[in-house]
Amino acid sequence: MDLRTRYLGLDLSSPIVAAASPLTGEVDNIRRLEDMGAGAVVLPSLFEEEIEQNEQTIERLSTAGIESYAEALTYFPAAASCRTGCERYQELVGRARSAVDMPIFGSLNAKSERGWVDYARAIEAAGAQAIELNLHFIPMDPSLSGREVEERYRGIVKAVKNAVTIPVAAKLGPYFSAMGHMAGELFAAGADGLVLFNRFYEPDIDLAELSLSPHLDLSTASEIRLPLLWIGILAGRGAGSLAASSGVESADEVVKYLLAGADVVMTASALIRHGVGHMRALVDGLRTWLAARNLDALDAIRGSLCQREAADPTAFERANYVKI
């Protein structure tokens, strides 16, 4: 069965990719994912904010009380205040690259323009074969217009593309007034691919502590509809790669996304929920589905139900009006 796939200009042995999650931060898991048939792995995101916070915390703690009392002018060996975060991430990229043959993608969530560029360069330097930009941005300032937000996204992609030579994918949320146009803008800015869609942390309220608490539920199969819609609309237009993300629970969702035109299908929630071994179930499920239809290559079905290829392209538009 030929599951070979091209994504971001890279050859993958399978269209199923382990999305960024804590699981992909462990090299043992990455090895197992490859063994289970994953086509590639996206490492957990490097968060500029987290790095900064770590740096500041370590600076604060390693200097607390120093140069104050004659007998104890410091409290830690100098190594305690070493640089944090970025080198650690680079080390993970390096270890992952040497552990497996499949491509390793870095993932980046920065907050400053300089951060996007510097850390992207650092990830490239560490040996990542592509970078996924985790564009997690909530425009909390009500005076910020949609156009400005879009420009921000475009600017980030452009800046990173100018800084690195490896392929760059943009992972987005769905909240744009004109998703299709936005996708086009990002491709125009240089993005080699889009990952649809990102899911955001949304705060909840802890009633016992009377405080806000960050919250992110694992996705469920019912969440595939929106990404499926946009993958279907954008597929086959030749602008760049498309990765589907969200709601991949079983091989059924994998097949649906591929039919809609995704180049690759990413999953994190299912792996977290069922363990790394679930990758095998997804890959085998895909093979079984193809075999049951006497198909021996993936290309035969990829995008066969995208809007451009669909027998009834208007089905995508009318979806909202159909009575369920």
Partner: protein, 1203 residues
């Protein structure tokens, strides 16, 4: 570079083994060696030296001796008591003619008090060991001497002790020309290294060394080494000459500098020689015929070289020494010189005998400045100079001191002299070290930095003395007249005379919350007057605000450093700013870009927020600096303590100081340090009166009382109270009071408070609030609270945390770190047993915050009773405390005997009642106190006529049960004092040992001990500790008759309380291991108690009590008080930098160690569970006791309890 680093740089590179143990001020040398080894830095032979920490300096000396005998080039670093512990091995090493160099940052030996500061008393105690004693007097000299000593020891086989002045040289930062590896290679002869190895023990060609010798041969054997010692002076001089040829810096065994026809000469060792030389040069310019001999090789003493160095014209000679030998005819160098001169004169080698006087200076880093050197030169002019004088103090008892002209100064005009008053940990010292570095790196500039710290670990004042100039700076003394003064903490203006040392026309920089137009009227009148009279240029900047705004919180270092460069003119402004930014990049680059950018912004913002203040013509303020202590303070506090508090301790004359180191208790209460910006504010309506806040308060600033509501009639309007929440006391009120001027604002109490407002999220029954607004009202509230009666100890329920809050703490307001994890235990101890307690305290954090002058936190209760506290040494606290017990037991026996013999006079019933009184419950203690008080009354009436009554009176206090506590940290208990501790446990005597276990040597800055956990980093374990901590509890339990408890107040305060009470009640030895969070763990100590809870929840620190008395009632003595682990070790450990840092630096290694540590936790818990489920005395095994179901105390009956 400082002296310690300069020495370590050489010692590390020319040795193969370093045996180390921390002791101030030498610790940084060992720490650097450990860090360099961990970083893989190699010595000149291309290998990484082995750095081995030992359990004590005695152990280090033993390991060093062994390594030497096995042929390795071996060194060590030490000082003071540490050096003394090495003495037995030093005799052996020298007796066996073994080449080695010890590097000693010379420090006072503890006598009437401990001192961490510098003098030569430690080195002088080693005179008879056979080591060559080799002195250096500056950072550069120390660096060079480290190499010369190594060359000389290899050539001569005589071991060398290279010493330099603790702090003055070890911690002074100065311009240094660093010796390269090739310089070292050129000086070290590998043939001598191989000869050293060839002399090693080797089974291939065996021999015996270390025989036991008898009267027939020992003496001759001692004399056999003489040729080696006679050769040393020439060998050293040759090494010095070779060194001069290589490096261009020339030294001699006795370096003379001065007039060729000098008539008056000073002889001294160490850094004081630089001061003396500078002074002599200044005097020579005025035509005086003076000179200075600096002694470098003190032992073996070469009279010939000394006589050669001394000008023949010398008529009078003063020998200055940094040591004191009470009862001796003179200090050691004086005696040597007198003997050399007398010998030369009597043998005709010298025509005349100059007048020789000896004197002492600089004990414990007392400053030795040109005025003092001049006073000595002047003394030599007198026909009858003082023979055994002192200089630098006022000796109004024996009149030994020389009079000084304090205005005498010889500072060069081209030297910028800057003083910086900083608040500990605000970054001032770090910034100044950085400024020295920046300037020293400029071509044609030289720089010097010396830093003075006060006695406190929190809210301390630092004073930086910086000199910059176009010539090398040889002025190892404090700045007496500064042309730049910076005060980095505004409140200092109200505590000290900050401008006292400002020279006329100097620049004054003030970190002020008030702008250039508001600040003037906020200055005390005396400050205004000095600014006007001295015509100071006055600048202000709100550095705290600038730092805060760029995200640097309270780290004002970059801001104030920039301000200094901007207005001092040391370097051209733009050049200076560029250099600061370069330096920021270097310093913070490794810590991340964000930190770098924040500091860059701080630099830029400083320049636009720095203002010169237009100084009015006359003072305008109506207020001035208040006296350091109030008028109602005790006489000693007013006359002595106050001087120290004002920074004028140097002016205290001998007569005002106690002759035997005995100081009054409880003087910390008179020092209002006022260091917290935010302090707790009570919300009585939310409070559940649980006592948790006062229980955990590290500085004893929270007090509780209950009282009759009628007493509120005269209360201040703002005084808060609530009905006591106990049933049956309708007219009783409850109040909490806060000593907010003593509070450090650590917030531990806030985190401990369980009472949350349901309506206001985040609000508790106590909350941190800005102090400024509440200060006046709270002072009045506190004054009223102090007038309320102290609650009767006999009516307070000692058995629970809630009750303990009503007991007077007799350990209060110490200078411990804000949020200290040790002090709450000591406070609790003082509350429970303080009025009948003796404390033997091991040296360490607890002895420092417990008794570091100016003030003493161990105090007295309202009846005048309180803990009797003393510190002997670091290593002997257990033995010292056992001595307390032996004496107490002896005197109790004596008192009982005498009492029995007087029973006819006293009354048999009364005697019987005293002798048979139970004394476990507090009510029983109170009853016994009443009996003994009555007995004392009778005895006083009988005393005049009855010898036995007088005798009984001298020991009668022992009839009240005395509580002996031995207190120390894990460095003492696990390492240096372990042998003694173990022995004391084995005696079965009734002593209580409290180990404040921070798992590192906290006091010396966080070096690893055997209590340091697996996987944590610490100094001396920079790559992470590789073995699990020692289980001291299990070792003690193995005795079977020792009460052992492991406690963590934050995990279970009730169990802590119970353990303290059981241990004290147990008639035998007790050992309590108390988890003590520490600044060296690397987390915000506000959450210290929470972190303790996590330590227990993870199973890392299980709580248990082993009470041998339980066996008597057929119960298992081992009670496990904490449940099985509920969280993984990671969730506890990675909250702390000591673990987390390793995970960041070496993730895989850290992960491996964490897995091992987790496995060790699981295994250990199983061991404890097995102990807890053991059957005993036919009783069924019990499950681990829950915290609430803990067993009752071994006490008879219930106490009467108040609310």
């Amino acid at each position: 570079m400082d002296g310690n680093t300069a020495v370590a740089h050489v010692a590390y590179r020319i040795n193969e083994v370093c045996a180390i143990f921390p002791i101030t001020p030498s610790s940084p040398m060992a720490e650097l060696a450990d860090e360099w080894a961990a970083a893989g830095i190699r010595n000149i032979w291309g290998n990484i030296p082995v750095i081995q920490q030992m359990q004590s300096e005695g152990g280090a000396a033993g390991a060093l001796h062994g390594a030497l005998q096995a042929g390795a080039l071996t060194t060590t670093f030490t000082a003071s008591q540490g050096l003394l512990l090495m003495i037995p091995n030093m005799f052996k090493i020298a007796g066996e003619l073994t080449a080695s160099v010890f590097h000693v940052a010379a420090r006072s030996v503890a006598t009437q008090g401990l001192s961490i500061f510098g003098d030569h008393s430690d080195v002088m105690a080693t005179r008879s060991t056979g080591f060559a004693l080799f002195s250096s007097g500056s950072v550069q000299e120390a660096h060079d001497a480290a190499l010369i000593a190594e060359v000389a020891t290899l050539k001569s086989r005589v071991p060398f002790l290279h010493f330099f002045d603790g702090f003055r040289t070890s911690h002074e930062v100065n311009t240094l020309s660093l010796l390269s590896d090739s310089d070292l290679r050129a000086m070290i002869d590998d043939a001598l290294v191989r000869a050293h190895r060839a002399r090693a023990l080797n089974p291939e060609h065996p021999f015996i060394r270390g025989t036991s010798q008898n009267p027939d041969t020992f003496f001759q054997g001692r004399e056999s080494v003489n040729p080696f010692y006679r050769a040393v002076p020439e060998i050293v001089q040759k090494a010095m000459d070779d060194f001069a040829a290589l490096a261009g810096r020339r030294y001699r065994l006795f370096d003379y500098e001065g007039a060729a026809d000098a008539e008056r000469v000073l002889v001294l060792m160490g850094s004081g020689a630089e001061t003396a030389r500078e002074t002599a040069a200044a005097l020579r310019q005025k035509g005086e015929k003076v000179g200075v001999v600096q002694v470098r090789l003190f032992r073996p003493f070469s009279a010939a070289h000394f006589l050669d160095a001394l000008p023949a014209t010398c008529q009078s000679l003063a020998v200055l020494e940094q040591t004191k030998e009470p009862g001796a005819p003179g200090e050691p160098l004086y005696l040597d010189l007198v003997a050399a001169l007398a010998d030369a004169f009597s043998c005709g080698r010298r025509a005349g005998m100059p007048k020789v006087i000896g004197g002492r200076y600089g004990l414990s880093s007392k400053d030795f400045n040109p005025a003092m050197a001049k006073a000595v030169f002047d003394e030599l002019k007198k026909p009858e100079p003082k023979r055994s004088f002192t200089v630098g103090i006022i000796d109004d008892v024996c009149g030994t001191s020389l009079d000084l002209d304090p205005s005498y100064a010889i500072e060069r005009d081209d030297v910028v002299r800057a003083l910086f008053y900083g608040l500990g940990a605000d970054g001032t010292v770090g910034a100044n070290k950085n400024s020295v570095k920046i300037i020293a790196e400029q071509a044609g500039f030289y720089a010097q930095g010396y830093f003075v710290y006060d006695s406190h670990k929190s809210g301390a004042q630092t004073l930086s003395h910086l000199r910059f100039g176009p010539q090398p700076i040889h002025s190892p003394y404090l700045i007496g007249s500064a042309n730049f003064v910076a005060c980095h903490h505004f409140p200092f203006l109200l505590r000290q005379d900050i401008l006292r040392l400002a020279a006329p026309g100097a620049t004054f920089l003030l970190n002020s919350p008030y702008g250039p137009h508001q600040v003037w009227n906020r200055l005390p009148r005396s400050v205004q007057r000095q600014i006007i009279e001295k015509r100071l240029r006055f600048f202000v900047i709100d550095a705290s605000r600038v730092a805060r705004e760029v995200g640097l919180k309270n780290r004002t270092n970059t801001v104030l450093q920039t301000a200094f460069f901007a207005i001092s003119g040391v370097l051209p402004r733009d050049e200076a700013i560029a250099e600061i930014k370069n330096s920021i990049r270097k310093t913070y680059g490794a810590k991340g870009e964000k930190v770098v950018q924040q500091n860059f912004k701080a630099v830029d913002d400083t320049l636009s927020r720095l203002y010169e203040v237009k100084v009015p013509l006359v003072p305008t303020s109506g207020f001035d600096r208040p006296p350091p202590v109030p008028a109602n303070a005790p006489k000693f506090v007013r006359e002595v303590t106050a001087m120290m508090l004002e920074g004028r301790g140097d002016e205290i004359p001998v007569s005002l100081l106690p002759v035997d180191g005995t100081f009054p208790s409880g003087t910390a209460a008179w020092e209002k340090r006022d260091i917290a910006d935010e302090v707790p504010l009570w919300r009585p309506e939310l409070c559940i009166q649980c006592g948790a806040c006062s229980f955990v308060c590290p500085h004893s600033v929270i007090r509780a009382k209950y009282y009759d509501e009628g007493r509120l009639q005269n209360a201040p309007a703002a005084f808060k109270s609530a009905p006591v929440n106990a049933r049956g006391y309708p007219e009783v009120r409850y109040s909490l009071a806060f000593y907010i001027e003593d509070c450090t604002g650590c917030g531990v109490c806030i985190e401990a408070c369980p009472a949350k407002s349901p309506a206001e999220p985040g609000v508790k029954a106590i909350n941190l609030e800005a102090k400024a607004q509440m200060l006046e009202a709270e002072r009045a509230n506190l004054a009223f609270f102090e007038e309320l009666p102290v609650n009767d100890r006999a009516r307070v329920d000692f058995a629970n945390v809630r009750g303990v809050q009503f007991l007077e703490p007799l350990f209060e307001f110490s200078g411990a770190c804000a949020g200290c994890g040790e002090t709450p235990y000591l406070k609790l101890l003082s509350q429970l047993f303080g009025d009948r307690m003796m404390v033997a305290n091991a040296t360490g954090c607890s002895s420092i915050y417990g008794a570091n002058l100016p003030v003493t936190p161990w105090s007295r209760n309202h009846e005048g009773r309180g803990p009797a506290w003393s510190n002997s040494l670091f290593e002997d606290a257990a033995e010292f405390g056992l001595g307390f017990r032996l004496a107490a037991d002896k005197h109790l026996d004596l008192a009982r005997e005498r009492l029995k013999s007087l029973s006819r006079d006293i009354g048999e019933d009364a005697v019987d009642a005293i002798l048979k009184a139970p004394q476990i419950q507090e009510s029983e203690i109170r009853a016994q106190r009443a009996r003994v008080a009555e007995l004392k009354g009778k005895l006083l009436r009988m005393a005049e006529r009855d010898e036995k009554a007088r005798d009984l009176l001298s020991v009668v206090d022992h009839l009240v049960r005395r509580s002996i506590w031995i207190v120390g940290g894990d460095g003492w208990a696990y390492d240096i004092g372990y042998g003694g501790l173990d022995h004391v446990l084995s005696t079965g005597r009734n002593v209580n040992i409290l180990v404040l276990d921070t798992e590192v040597y906290s006091n010396t800055g966080g070096q690893a001990s055997k209590a340091t956990p697996l996987g944590a980093i610490a100094k001396f374990a920079a790559a992470g500790k590789r073995v699990a901590r020692k289980d001291l509890a299990l070792q003690a339990i193995a005795y079977g008759n020792v009460y052992v408890a492991q406690i963590a107040m934050g995990a279970n305060p009730q169990q802590t309380l119970q353990a303290f009470r059981e241990a004290e009640a147990y008639e035998g030895p007790s050992l309590i291991l108390a988890y003590s969070h520490c600044i060296a763990h690397g987390f915000d100590l506000r959450y210290g108690m929470k972190q303790q809870d996590l330590a227990t929840a993870s199973g890392y620190w299980p709580l248990f009590r082993y009470n041998p008395a339980m066996r008597r009632v057929g119960e298992n003595p081992f009670r496990l008080d904490s449940p099985r682990p509920t969280i993984p070790l990671r969730d506890y450990a990675y909250n702390e930098l000591r673990y987390h840092a390793l995970a960041l630096a070496h993730p895989s290694e850290a992960e491996k160690l964490l897995i091992e540590a987790q496995a060790a936790v699981v295994e250990k818990y199983k061991t404890y569970e097995a102990l807890a489920s053991r059957q005993n005395g036919g009783q069924a095994a019990r499950r681990p006791a829950s915290s609430r179901a803990a067993r009752p105390l071994l006490m008879n009956g219930r106490e009467r309890h108040g609310p």
